[in-house]
């Protein structure tokens, strides 16, 4: 009986291996065809094909990654942080598989893993997809950046997102969680995960950044007992040095801390401690207070993957996003800045960024409501568009829900015209800002078309 049993297991094992092999081959073939014939990157379809043949393909593919996987999740900053970590590891001389373009559900992750035998995999993972992929991916590190209200109609409520991530971590017990110490919603996940045995490291900003606070913040109540949280300081939105007055829930002392943080229109800089080597200065052209967290999280993950501080600093100095995250374009002598802004926090941060820019500014705010954007655009009412008033920023609106944005701006005290694309917005702003800069702020599905249009207008394509 035992031999027959053993034989069956072996046969099944071989069948699984064969299936993964076939799935991988088919996925790679699709990718090759897409790249050579259709000139497309193939961030989804190859993975979708591989998963159709072998639903557990991620498990087989992840097993071929030589040193380890790093997964990155959270509401804001996933793509930038993933790109930073991937670039940093690559620059230290290792090969990396990564979904740099932000295709972050199972198909996108499988597509990225089709790369031939990488040393590391650095993968952005959609919050709700964590539970689908973590048990198979079994990453060495799971970076959780922040949790905000985002795409609520798809994600349900933030409580559900937290439950999902806790469950995903339970499915991958060897994973170390690298969590944002300053975000009470993240820290609530970390505490729950730690109770079920997950090892937790944390990163955070060591002092008050003295940045202006926006109007809406998602969580100011203790996730464990419901009391109103006290804050010694805020860094942005609901992030800061929090503590609960009635129970023991409070911001931990972070393992990776950023001190002497400087935020300016040209970028951010901070000091980090490196164990045994003293402090190191990190500097980046990424804009906005929130970039400090992307930087710090990327540094923590890169450090854990063996990257030195000086090598990481080099990566930062040459890092220029080419994915529509604060990407700069020049169209007929005018500067255009393209950035993703897909929720209130993202747009509020972008508004802050625009207001810091001393030049004449106009903005095109593009809101779509495709499934991956969230069908519900109620969130635009949580954006502080009022700050644009009287600040010589001329707003325009675009996208499938341009008319909703137009109503929102009307109630913020501003008339705004609708522009069907970037070219139309440039035309509309010709007179007011000939030497000025146009900020194009779009949510998820509108980003790639806007970027393609800008490349075309610039003459790069």
């Amino acid at each position: 009986v035992s031999s027959r049993y053993g034989c069956a297991v072996r046969k099944e094992g071989i069948a699984v291996a064969v299936r993964t092999h076939v799935a991988t081959g088919a996925g790679r073939l699709v990718r090759l065809v897409l790249r050579k014939v259709a000139h497309r990157q193939g961030s989804q379809l190859p993975g979708r094909v591989a998963l159709a043949i072998d639903p557990a393909a991620i498990s087989g593919l992840a097993a071929r990654v030589r040193q380890g996987c790093i997964a990155v999740s959270g509401t804001n900053g996933k793509t930038t942080t993933t790109n930073l970590i991937a670039s940093a590891i690559e620059e230290s001389g290792l090969s990396v598989a990564s979904n740099r373009d932000g295709a972050n559900m199972a198909a996108g992750i499988a597509s990225a893993l089709l790369e031939h035998g990488p040393d590391w995999a650095v993968l952005e993972v959609d919050e709700l997809s964590t539970v689908r992929v973590m048990g198979e991916l079994r990453p060495a590190y799971f970076v959780l950046l922040n949790l905000f209200r985002d795409q609520l109609d798809r994600a349900g409520e933030i409580d559900h997102v937290q439950d999902t991530i806790v469950e995903a971590l339970r499915l991958s017990p060897q994973t170390t969680l690298v969590a944002c110490a300053d975000d009470p919603l993240v820290w609530a996940v970390a505490r729950r995960a730690a109770r079920s045995g997950t090892r937790v490291l944390s990163f955070g900003v060591a002092s008050d950044l003295h940045v202006g606070r926006d109007r809406v913040s998602g969580a100011r109540f203790c996730p464990e007992c419901g009391a109103r949280l006290d804050y010694a300081w805020h860094t942005f939105a609901h992030l800061g040095s929090f503590s609960c007055p009635t129970c023991d829930f409070s911001r931990p002392e972070p393992d990776f801390a950023a001190s002497e943080v400087e935020v300016s229109p040209t970028g951010v800089a901070c000091m980090v401690e490196v164990s045994g080597r003293g402090p190191a200065r990190l500097r980046s052209g990424l804009g906005g207070a929130y970039a400090v967290y992307d930087l710090l999280a990327a540094w923590a993950a890169a450090h854990l993957a063996g990257v030195t501080a000086s090598s990481f600093a080099d990566t930062l100095s040459s890092f220029s996003p080419e994915n529509g995250r604060l990407e700069h374009f020049r169209v007929r002598g005018r500067e255009v800045v393209l950035n993703l802004a897909k929720n209130p926090t993202g747009l509020n941060l972008n508004i802050g960024l625009m207001l810091q820019d001393p030049r004449a500014r106009s903005a095109l705010i593009v809101v779509n409501d495709e499934p991956n954007d969230g069908r519900d655009v109620s969130w635009i009412w949580d954006v502080d568009f009022e700050r644009l008033q009287g600040n010589s920023v001329t707003p325009h609106c675009g996208g499938e829900r341009a008319r909703d944005v137009q109503v929102r701006l009307r109630y913020a005290g501003m008339g705004a015209e609708i522009a069907c694309d970037v070219a139309a917005a440039l035309e509309l702003t010709e007179d007011v800002a000939r030497d000025g800069v146009l900020y194009v702020l779009t949510n998820y599905s509108a980003l790639a078309p806007a970027r393609q249009e800008l490349l075309r207008l610039e003459g790069r394509r």
């Binding site: 109609d153 069908r375 519900d376 109620s378 009412w381 008319r403 109503v407």
Partner: protein, 244 residues
């Protein structure tokens, strides 16, 4: 006659503001200001018991389960106050989770939570969540009411309660009856969550008019240019193939 003023009490904005509910406050405020009226907004915070004497409009938004649970206790202490306010013809707008709180009870997971019993209705749960654009024909507006719904609860109206309207597209109260929301005295409850009023200026004006009627015995309202709001309302109707 001096400047007409209305006082608006926004209940627990820090907890019941899941889907841009502050948009409704802004619409009330602006539409009064544009007509040379004053709108005083008072926020009632958790732990505080609202005092509704002199209040003209009460707003209750939607929260997550966790947040609604925190609010529930505070609200129950305010039950008597709210109940007299409603009996006195006070205007109350409750959306989404706030709408559920108006009834006798609702379900949080499997646990039955006692509501305010301001309106004869109750809410149980169903699967799946009802999530999509919603269009409703209502007597209080000539144009259809448009918005977004996202709720696991199924709300059932008692015999004496009028629905806000009939569902033209979407799910509404329970996904089956074809009814959406409730109307009782000057109370409006609806699953059109968050920013209900921006794309439905007639609903905003109807509520303002009811409050003016009660305070000043004069519901007259100067018309405004609502072309931007109407275009946004029409865009949703066009997309869903509903006739205005």
């Amino acid at each position: 006659m001096g400047k007409r003023t209305l006082r608006l009490a926004h209940l627990y904005p820090e907890l019941l503001n899941l889907y841009g509910d502050s948009g409704n406050v802004l619409v009330f405020r602006r539409r009064m200001e544009w007509r040379q009226m004053a709108c005083q907004v008072e926020e009632v915070h958790v732990g505080e018991t609202p005092s509704l004497g002199g209040v003209d409009i009460v707003l209750i938004g939607g929260g997550s389960d966790r947040e609604q649970r925190i609010v529930c206790e505070s609200l129950r202490k305010a039950r008597e106050e709210l109940s007299s306010y409603v009996a006195d013809g006070g205007v109350l707008l409750a959306v989404c989770g706030g709408y559920q709180l108006l009834g006798h009870s609702y379900l949080m997971g499997d646990e039955e939570v006692e509501g305010l019993s301001l309106v004869d209705l109750y809410t149980d749960r169903g699967s799946p969540r009802l999530t999509r654009n919603l269009v409703v024909a209502s007597e209080i507006a000539r144009r259809p009411i448009v918005g977004f719904e996202n709720h696991g609860g199924r709300t059932h109206l008692g015999p004496g309660v009028t629905p806000l309207g009939r569902v033209l597209s979407g799910f509404g109260n329970d996904g089956q009856s074809g009814l959406e929301g409730c109307r009782f005295a000057n109370v409006v409850g609806t699953y059109v969550h968050g920013p209900l009023l921006p794309k439905n200026p007639e609903v905003a004006d109807w509520l303002i008019a009811r409050a003016l009627e009660r305070r000043y015995a004069d519901a007259s309202l100067e018309p405004l240019d609502d072309s931007v709001e109407i275009a946004a309302n029409q865009a949703i109707l066009d997309r869903l193939g509903v006739d205005a």
